[in-house]
Every structure is written in structure tokens, then in C-alpha cells.
Subunit: 727 residues, 2 copies
């Protein structure tokens, strides 16, 4: 049966990638509009291409070093699968960005030609669907390759079953196995995600803040005004940050969720869990098949919008239908495969895994995950939408000036951590109760099983945003801008749910990887249950260091954005002063210099935080050993979740508080009032928090867990404290 299932997954992958290809060329052959539009779109495309090429060069060098180290120290399979993961993830990001820079202008043109919300939505969504299908398609493609080539053809799964393992070249005493190969693949995806998110995040927010700080606040010209020299850079930023960054981020989450289940199953088996080889095989297969069925569901959900003859102008509803079709079908298929795939195993054997409710246990765990993702999204929505009290309170505080806007926003962000954490806690405990630790990774996967649909929705937002920018800069009819703005604002709301899935799945996947980490170095008690004694002083100190790490990482990212933004501010001011007639609209600004400043700034600033994230767990492992790193991981995971929620929600709330004032929600304090200025300060402060820091933290905890899981086989044996006999 497993062959049949894999064929289905393979078919889903081929279907998805062909579909993406089809949509890509469908969009590309559409008309681009006026010369002016083509010119602007061309500038954005060139800027985005240049940045991503340069970024990938840097990542390629770092990746090559990592691949060689993995290949030599761990196993050549780990090195190769690392390269595979990195390549596929980079490709997905690149393709997504490519189509985004083709779609933006075509969306603007469609809006201009038809003035029809539904038709414009279709173009934007088609563009987004390319990214969504690529993310899931490439991720699963790589997983199938790893599974078939390394697991089956090269016999690594058999090695696990027979307890034979392969020795590393440098350290012959090291035992490496399929888990290392799988972890290598996940790490490859993570490393691209980290750089794309951090680099793209710094780029987009530096440009955005730079454009706003001078344009809106000092020169009082509207957003995306062509007189603003930073405006093209701002639009480039949307493509490299919100599209390529988001895409590789979610690809990484998706892979992390699938692989954490696979790795955990192997580790439990390797460390004495008395299940049969068949059950192990099934446990390894389930996440992959579940993901494949999810992808099939998404193809259908996406087709609803792509193929529907006439989309209604209720954009929100249309998008929701597409998402719900995908989600509902995923859930149903999950039930079916969970039911049939585990049907033939006796309850006693399933009970060893903690499957309290028999063969449908993994399904129930996945439902816990999906429910938690949705609820966390709703909670974010509550704290950040101006339909509810918290954001209204921030908007009202703006009447007293920027200090109270900030204060109230900080308070909202801090308070907003509790409810999502409670939801997450219930999901962890619930999925554990029904299906043991394996259930926790099923919950993570549940959240992401329909990732293609959520990414499609998430990506269509920045595409519409860009289309609006192009419309503004090409001086199209204001009605065009209204259409794209409407699409963009709906995108923001749906993105809130997406964020819930991102943070929730990151937390669950990191915890699942954490458990594999403990198995890998023998952190188990006398009964074979995993154990990490947090009051062991070394572990405790590790947890403290780990807890400080997300703060340090976040602080560095914020500072990086601020630094790059300050340079942008200086350049924009310089151009306003030195180019005669610019503000009067009689001269063209020098867009290129601004693009270069953002590029150079982000490429320079992204290196240190990224390298820190990669090296910190490894170096501390080689000094203090595995117990310390165990504490480090748990401490970092816990505070990263809090900070990600805090940053995401306070940033979102400030953004919408500003929009609330702009929409006239605060009586007597509309656009241009001091209250509005105060709310712009809040929005500017929130920008790097919600778009650079928050999403990067999700990746931070997974990359740390993955890298530790790989390195622990070495540093649990060779570390300074161990050698010195300190502990």
C-alpha cells in the first residue's frame, strides 16, 4: 500500500508544480498596460532580481561551507540533502518573487481596464497561487526524494530498523542514520528561510520606514507618491520581504512540521520503543501522505477561484471559500488516511506511542493543531483589528500624542500573549493526550496541511499592494487604486489567520524537534521517557541564555532596520534638497540609489544575526555540552513565542490604529491631525516588529533546534565541560 500512497503524493506534487507553471505563464502573457507602468514595473523587477541574486550568492557561500562541514563531520547523505533542501527552498522563493513582479503590473492593468474587483482579484490570486503551489510542491518533492533515494534506495530506513548505522568519516565513533539525512534536508530549507526572512525583512522595512519618515511625516506627500525617491525601493521590498521571505518561511515551517514527525518516529524506535518495523514505516509515511493529500485539497481550493467564471465582489468571502475548501478537504482526507493507514495495528502497539484513541489518534491530534491555528489567528485578529477594543484604544490614545500611542500599543502587545499561549498549551496537551509526542508533530502538520492555499492568499496581498503602488506612480485613475486597496486590505485580514498558523506550527515543530534532540543524546529517564531536568544548574543556565537569545536577535534586527532606514532617510532628504523641482513634480527622483541603499544595508546587516542564530547553539554545545543546549533550546523557544506574539500583535495594532484614524474612526481627529501624526509614529515603530522581527523569530527557534539535533551527535561526546570533568 505504501507504494500506492507515495504515488499519490508524487502525483500531487507533479500536479501542483504543473499547475503553478500553467498559472505562471497565464499571468505572464497578460498585458502590462501603459509605457509608464511597464517602466515602473521593470524598475521594481530589476531591483528585486538584483537583490535576490546578490543575496543568494552570499547564502550559497555560507551554504557550501555548511554542506561541506555536514558532509565531512556527519555523513555525505546529510550534506547532499542539505543542498537539496536549500536549493528547493531558494527556488520556491525565487519563482514566487518572479511571478509577483510579473503580476503586480498586470493586476494594476486589469483593474484599470475592467474596473472589476472580481476580475482583478483573479489575476492577483493566480499570481499568489504560483507561490503557494511552489512552496508545497517543492517542499514535498524534496521530501519524496529524500525518502525514496536515501531512505529506501540507499537503505537508510532499513538501517534504522535493523539498528545498523553508518559511521562518520572524521569521528568513526559517531552513529549517524536516516534522522541526520532528514534533518539535513530540513536545515537546508531553514537556512534559506532565515536569510530570506531576515534579509528581505530588513530590506522592506528599511525602505518602508525611510519612505514614510521623510515622505509622510516631513514632506506630507502620500504613500507611493512618485516624487518620493524611496518609493520604488519600498515596492521592491514588498516582493523580496513579503513574497520571497514569506514563501521560504512557510516552506521551512511545512518541511519542519513533516520532518519533525519523521525524525521523532525514527528516534523513538532507535531508542528502544518496542513497535514493529511496519508501524515505524507507517509512522514515517503518515506525515508525507497527509501533506500530499493536503496539497491535493489545495489544488481544488485554489481552482475554485482560478476557474470560477465570475467572482463576486465580496473578495473576503471568495478567499474564505477557497481556504475553507482546502482546509475542510484536508481534514477529511486526514481522517481517511489516519483511519486506514493505522487500521491494522493492534491497540496495544499503538498504545506504546501514546495513541489513546486507536487509529484515529493522529487525526484527532491534527484537528487540535488546526483548531489552535484558527483560534490563535482569531485572537490576533481581536488584538489587531480596529473592529475591536484594543486597537480602538490605541487610536484614541493618539489624541494625547505619540507617547501614549506607543505606551498603549506596548501594553496591548504584552497582554495579547496570554490567550494564544493558552490555546497553544491546550493544543500541545490535547494532541499529546490523544497521540503522544508524535501527536504534537501531527498537530503542527495539521496547521500547515493546507499551506498552499494560505500562502496563495498571503501572497496575493503584497501583489495587490504593489499593484496599488504602480497605479499611484503611473498616475492611473484613483478608482484603480481603490480596487487594489480593497484587495490589499482583505489580504491583511486573512493574513492574520496565516500568522496564527505560522507561529503555532513553529512552536509545535520546535517542541517536537526538541524531543528528538533529547532522544538523540540520551536525555531519557530509567523508563526510556525523555527527560530534561530544568533545575539541573547547567540546563537552567542554558535556559537563561536561551531566553536572552531571542531578545538579542530581535534587538539586532530592529537596530539593523533602523540603521538602514536612517541611511535611506538621509538619501531621500538629500534628493529633496538637491534635485530642483522634485517636490513640485517637475523632476524625476533618483530611484536607483535608494534601491542600492536598501540592498547594501540589508545584505550587510543580515549577516551577523543569522550567523549568531546558527553558531550560538553549536558553539555552546561544544563548550558546555548537550544538557546546556537542551536548556538553551527550551528557553529560546519559550521566549521566542512570546516575543513573536508581542511583536506581531503590537505592530499589527499600531498599523490598524493608524488606519482607524484615517477612516475617521476617532471623532474630530482625522487624516492630517496631530492624532494621525502620533498614530503614524506608532505604525512606523511597529513596522519592523511585525514584519521583520516576528516572522524571523519563528525561524530562529526551528533552525536552532534542527542544527542542535544534527550537532548533538558530536558535541554530546566531545565538549569542553565534559573533557574538564566539570559536570
Amino acid at each position: 500500500m505504501s507504494d500506492l500512497l507515495l504515488i499519490i503524493v508524487g502525483a500531487a506534487v507533479i500536479l501542483a508544480l504543473s499547475y503553478a507553471c500553467f498559472n505562471f505563464f497565464m499571468v505572464k502573457k497578460m498585458k502590462e498596460g501603459t509605457d509608464r507602468m511597464q517602466e515602473i514595473a521593470g524598475a521594481i523587477r530589476i531591483g528585486a532580481n538584483a537583490f535576490i541574486r546578490y543575496e543568494y550568492k552570499i547564502v550559497a557561500i555560507i551554504g557550501a561551507v555548511v554542506a561541506v562541514i555536514l558532509g565531512v563531520l556527519i555523513s555525505w547523505q546529510t550534506g547532499v540533502s542539505f543542498i537539496l533542501g536549500a536549493t528547493l527552498s531558494a527556488t520556491a522563493g525565487f519563482v514566487g518573487m518572479k511571478i509577483a513582479t510579473y503580476s503586480n503590473v498586470r493586476v494594476a492593468n486589469q483593474a484599470n481596464e475592467t474596473r472589476d474587483l472580481g476580475k482583478t482579484l483573479k489575476v492577483a490570486f493566480k499570481g499568489g497561487s504560483v507561490m503557494g503551489l511552489c512552496v508545497a510542491g517543492f517542499a514535498l518533492l524534496g521530501i519524496i526524494i529524500v525518502y525514496l533515494v536515501f531512505g529506501v534506495a540507499l537503505g537508510q530506513i532499513n538501517d534504522v530498523i535493523e539498528g545498523t548505522v553508518q559511521n562518520s568519516i572524521i569521528f568513526p565513533a559517531l552513529e549517524t542514520s536516516f534522522t541526520m539525512t532528514v534533518s539535513g534536508y530540513a536545515l537546508g530549507c531553514s537556512i534559506i528561510a532565515l536569510f530570506n526572512r531576515v534579509g528581505g525583512g530588513i530590506y522592506t522595512k528599511a525602505a518602508d520606514m525611510g519612505a514614510d519618515l521623510v515622505g509622510k511625516t516631513e514632506a506630507h506627500i502620500p504613500e507611493d507618491d512618485p516624487r518620493n525617491p524611496a518609493t520604488i525601493a519600498d515596492n521592491v521590498g514588498d516582493n523580496v520581504g513579503d513574497v520571497a521571505g514569506l514563501g521560504s518561511d512557510l516552506l521551512e515551517s511545512y518541511v519542519g512540521a513533516i520532518m519533525s514527525g519523521v525524525i521523532l518516529a525514527c528516534e523513538m524506535f532507535l531508542h528502544g520503543l518496542a513497535i514493529s518495523a511496519e508501524l515505524l514505516h507507517t509512522l514515517l509515511l503518515f506525515p508525507i501522505v497527509f501533506a500530499g493529500c493536503g496539497l491535493l485539497s489545495c489544488i481544488i481550493g485554489i481552482s475554485y477561484i482560478v476557474l470560477k467564471r465570475k467572482l463576486s465582489s465580496n473578495v473576503h468571502m471568495e478567499l474564505n471559500v477557497a481556504t475553507w475548501i482546502s482546509a475542510a478537504m484536508s481534514v477529511i482526507l486526514c481522517f481517511v488516511i489516519s483511519f486506514f493507514i493505522f487500521k491494522d495495528f493492534p491497540q496495544e502497539e499503538l498504545g506504546l506511542l501514546g495513541f489513546r484513541l486507536g487509529n484515529i489518534s493522529p487525526f484527532l491530534a491534527a484537528v487540535f493543531g488546526i483548531a489552535a491555528g484558527i483560534l490563535i489567528g482569531i485572537a490576533s485578529e481581536y488584538y489587531t483589528s480596529y473592529d475591536y477594543k484594543p486597537t480602538k484604544k490605541i487610536a484614541n490614545s493618539s489624541k494625547e500624542g505619540p507617547a501614549l500611542t506607543i505606551t498603549q500599543g506596548l501594553a496591548t502587545g504584552m497582554i495579547s500573549c496570554m490567550i494564544p499561549v493558552v490555546i497553544l498549551g491546550v493544543a500541545i496537551f490535547g494532541s499529546y493526550l490523544v497521540a503522544g509526542m508524535y501527536g504534537v508533530s501531527c498537530a503542527a502538520l495539521g496547521m500547515l496541511s493546507f499551506v498552499a492555499a494560505t500562502v496563495a492568499v498571503d501572497t496575493y496581498g503584497p501583489i495587490s499592494d504593489n499593484a496599488g503602488g504602480i497605479a499611484e506612480m503611473s498616475k492611473l485613475d484613483p478608482e484603480v487604486r481603490e480596487i487594489t486597496d480593497k484587495l490589499d486590505s482583505v489580504g491583511n485580514t486573512t493574513a492574520a489567520i496565516g500568522k496564527g498558523f505560522a507561529i503555532g506550527s513553529a512552536a509545535l515543530a520546535a517542541l517536537s524537534l526538541m524531543n528528538s534532540y533529547l532522544y538523540a543524546f540520551g536525555g531519557v529517564d530509567a523508563l526510556g521517557n525523555i527527560l530534561l531536568n530544568i533545575v539541573n544548574p547547567l540546563t537552567l543556565v542554558g535556559a537563561l541564555f536561551g531566553a536572552a537569545l531571542p531578545f538579542l536577535f530581535s534587538g539586532m534586527l530592529i537596530e539593523a532596520v533602523a540603521k538602514a532606514a536612517r541611511k535611506m532617510v538621509d538619501e531621500v532628504r538629500r534628493q529633496f534638497n538637491e534635485i530642483p523641482g522634485l517636490l513640485a513634480g517637475e523632476a524625476m527622483p533618483d530611484y536607483k540609489t535608494c534601491i542600492e541603499i536598501s540592498s547594501q544595508g540589508s545584505l550587510k546587516e543580515m549577516r551577523f544575526p543569522c550567523v549568531l542564530a546558527i553558531l550560538f547553539p553549536i558553539v555552546s554545545g561544544f563548550v558546555f555540552g548537550a544538557q546546556f543546549v537542551g536548556g538553551l533550546l527550551i528557553g529560546a523557544t519559550i521566549t521566542a513565542i512570546m516575543l513573536a506574539l508581542f511583536c506581531g500583535n503590537s505592530g499589527g495594532a499600531w498599523d490598524n490604529a493608524k488606519k482607524f484614524i484615517e477612516s475617521g474612526g476617532v471623532m474630530g481627529h482625522g487624516k492630517g491631525s496631530p492624532a494621525h501624526d502620533a498614530s503614524i509614529v506608532g505604525d512606523t515603530v511597529g513596522d519592523p516588529l511585525k514584519d521583520t522581527v516576528g516572522p524571523s523569530l519563528d525561524i530562529l527557534i526551528k533552525i536552532m533546534s534542527t542544527i542542535s539535533l544534527i550537532a548533538v551527535v558530536i558535541f554530546s561526546q566531545y565538549n569542553l565541560f565534559g573533557v574538564l570533568g566539570i559536570i
Copy 2:
């Protein structure tokens, strides 16, 4: 020998309290100055008295309820010692506030009459010394009473040694002992500290922000200008927040540090640590004697300033000499008592405790604590003083407007967490390596052994600040204000070191209490070592909830301040508009209404966060059981440390960035420039963070640990999850 040692401690207490009494009346009999000064000082005094009386009434009701519950459910001794702790802590806060409201005007008058920095310093410091001596004196007085009455006279220490324990009235199965009585005392101190810190913190910052938001930003009148209706309330706030709040906070820390060692020793013994009764006695005595010797050292250190005939005008140096005398003598005496008190025990027996270096192990552990406290203080100093890069960067960012001021300050605050945590980690690990878990509480106590001197220095700052306010409002010569400003600014620098001790000792004491908590419910492994398995799902979920709690608590406090400040802003604006001639200085503002707004606001807003802190661990204990609360405590402790550092340092840095601009540090952007306005926004945002949230978090983690330690004897046996058999 133990009797002799206790007599020395008793003598230190009597000496300290008599000395405080002497200084109190010495200051009180000094002249108050002009009628106008007396009038203003009287208004401040009345306002402060009224607030503290009303606050204490609320606390008395809550305290009475808690005392009865403790008395009935745990033991009558626990209830009585709780009342003792609460009473002594409340008294210390009250006396300190009293003397502060007497000293402020006398300091102003002294500066006015003599125009001599040294002479003015002496008056201010004498005032501060009353608070310092009372904090340590009352705390130790209570501890001696608990030790002698309950421990010795009522035989509770013998009960511990003989393994006989007393049964509670309601739950006869509960075993209660000396640790419960001691914990009750600590809890009494904590509860007062919590309310004083939170209530006082909201009061002072609501008044401060309210005064600044309208006065400085809108009306452009200087600080403490008599035309500003909120200015008296602002000065009242300094007394209730910075004096009474700080005093009971540090009293609580001091008691926590001493008691955590005592409780831990009892718990280890009760749970099978094979040491002799003599060694247990010595372990119980050591923290008390160490604290007593520290108090004696402080009496000498304080006398250096009080008795020195002519103080130099190098205020910073004079204060440092006093502190260093106290600290150095404490260290020397600690060595002496550690050496002699543990001299006669064989190394094998000491080895059971983890004393790797024999009898001087506790001394070395204390040194780790003291060194860590100083280094954390220096790190705070680096991040918050405008002599260094981080704060200068914030000041320079202000040139680009308030958004970048805030962004840069947030980044600085986040980055600033890492170094103190590393220092703390080294201290924890180092003190554990030399003296086991008992060593960790010795490290905490080391930091606080010379608390009388640090509190004296910390309190003289707000007294000088108040004196400056009185000078301004009484329209004394500007030279007077210069003298008090100089005193105040030195106070701010020395206070940074004090903050290092506060957060460091809170973390260490909380960890030590956490260990006792684990012993208390049997969280031990097969070898009798304490164990908390953080990857147990229930514990893990507890840790997540716990981690979110400090965020929730902080958010609620910030919101409370913002809410009260908004009311104050409205009132000040109303008065400016409605009282004719107020801004021209021809009419008097209505100070009283502003005082009432601050009082009512803070008393109303403080209740919910305080009750949450108290109830959260108890309620979750009765639902989810002891493993969950274990996770809760560790999660809360870890994130509270981070948030406290973040809030304290970002707030401090914003404050000093503003001062840097005012001092002309940013070329071309002085007082009154847009950059200065931006820096005021930063300062206003930072105010509640550094003065309300940061210090309250220190108390939060200790009160949660203490209350859990008491309640765990019940909820480890009676909890919903246990009854339902879920885990």
C-alpha cells in the same frame, strides 16, 4: 556559640533601629524654611500620608483574608508569621516615606541657607539612611522573632530534626513545619512589597506622565513649575513610589534571600539529606548571622557620611566610600563567619551539601553573588548612561523624530538582556559548583547583605529630587535647584548598581525557592536530587503559561499607568483652560484634585494585577497540580528576568538620551528642538517601563514562588487533574 551569634544579630538590629530613630529626629528638628516651602511640603506630606493610609487599608483587608486562610488551612503559626511580615514591611515603608516627606523640604532649606553641596548631601543622606536602616532592621527583627519564637521556643526546628510535623486543622493529612512558618513570614513581606510597588509605581508614573504630557509637551513650561496642577501629585508620587515602594521591595528581597536559604536547608533535611542536626542548625543560622553582620557593616558605612565633619563636594565619591565600606566589611565578616561557623564539620558531611571547598564554600558563593550584582549594575550603566554608545545612539536617532527614538530604544533594551543574563548564569553556576543549591541562596544574600547602605543611597535620590521640586515651586534661587539636581543625578547613577542587585537577587532567590518547592512536593529523582522534567507536557504547558504571565502582568501595569495618566492629562488641560490667569502665573492651580486622581487611579488599577499574581499559581495548582505549577514558576521566572532587564534598561536609556540632548550632547539639536521633543516622547514611554513594570516583575516572581511553596502542600494532594486521573 549559636546564642552568642544571635545576640550579635539582635544587637545589630537594636543598634540599627535606634540609629534610624536618632537620624529621624535629628532631621525632623531641622528648620523647614519659608512659609511657602512649608506650605508645599505640607501638601506633599498630606498627599503621601493620605495615599499610603488608604492603600494600607485595602492591603489590610486582603492581608487579613490571606492570614485567615493560611491560619486555617496550613497552620496558625504560618498565619501569625504572615501578619508579622506584613506589619514589619508596612512599617518600614511607612517610616521611610514619613522621613522622606520631612527631609525633602529640609534639604531644600539647607541648600538655600548654606549653598554647600556636602552639607546638603548630609541632610539628604541622613533621611535616606533612616529608610535603609529600617529596611534591614525591621526585616531582621522579624526573622529573629520567627526563629526564636516559632523555631526555638515553639520547637518547630526540633520538629524538623525529629521528623515530627504538625497537622493542619482542615486537612489533617497535611504535614506542615518550620518551612511553612518561615514562608508565611516571607509572604507577608512580599504582599506589602507587591502592593507598595505596584500602587506606588502607578501613582508616581501617572502623575509624572500627566504632568509632562501637558506641561512640558503642550504648555512648554519646565518641570516642577508651580503653574502645573499635577506637580504636587508628581512629588507625592516620588515619595510613595520611589521611597515607600522601593523600601518594601528591597525589604522583601532581603527577607527572600535570607529565608530561601533557611527553607532550602529545612527541605533538604526533611527529604533525606544525611547531615547532622548540628549542621542543619548551622545552615539555618548562617544566613541570619551573615545578614546581621552585613547590617553592622552598613551602620559603619552610613556613619562615614553622617559623622564626617566636612563632606567633600565630590558627592559620587563620598557615596561610593560609604557603600564600599559597607560592602567590604560585609565580605570580610562573611568570610570570618563562614570560616568559623562551618569549621568543625568534616568535609564528607559538607560534601553532601555540595560544599566542594569546605567551610569557606558559602563565603565563595556569596562572593559570586556580590560580583554578579556589581557587574550587572555596570552592564546596566553601560546601556543606560549617556557616557556610552547605546544611549548616545538613541539620542542621535531622535534627530529623525520620535519613531526612531522609540525603535532604537526598544532595540537597545532587547540587546541589553544578554550580558546581565550571562553574568547571572555564571553566578548561578559558580555558586552552585562551590556550595550546591544552598550556595545559590548564599549568592542572593551576598548581593543584599549590605542592603541598608544601598537603600540609603537609593532613597536619598528621590529626597533630593523632591527638594528640587520644592525649591522650584517656592521660587528659591536657581542655585538651590542646581545643588539638588546634582545630588539627584548622582543618585541616579548609583541607583543603577542598586537595580543590578535587585534583579539579580530576585532571580537567585526565586530559583532557590523553586528548589524548595520541588522538595516540598517530592519532585525528586531516584537519587533524591530535585527534578523538574520540562518536557513533561503538563510542565511544558505550565512553562508556556508562566512565560506569558509576566507579559500579561506588565501589559496590565502599563495600561493602568496610561489610563491614570490620561485622566490626569484631561484634568490638567481642564485647569489650564478653566482657571483664568493660571498659565500667566496669576492664579493658583487646584493641586488637590490632581492628587486625588492619582490616588484613586492607582488604588483602583493596582488591584487586578496584584490579585492575578497571587491567585494564578494557586488556582492553576488546584486545577492542574504541582508539576504544572513547577513549569509555571520556571517559565515566569525566566521571562520576568528578561522583561525586567528590557524594561529597566530601555526606560533608563530613553531617560538619559533626553538628558544627553538637554546637556547639548547632540550638535545642533538642543533643548526645545524637535529632536528634544522626540526624546521626551522616549522618556515618557520609558517612565512606566523602568519605574513601574521593571521593579514589580522582581516581586512578581518571588511572590509566586513563595505562595506556591506554601500552597503546594495542599494542591499536590488535592487537584482536579489528579482527581480526574488525567495525568
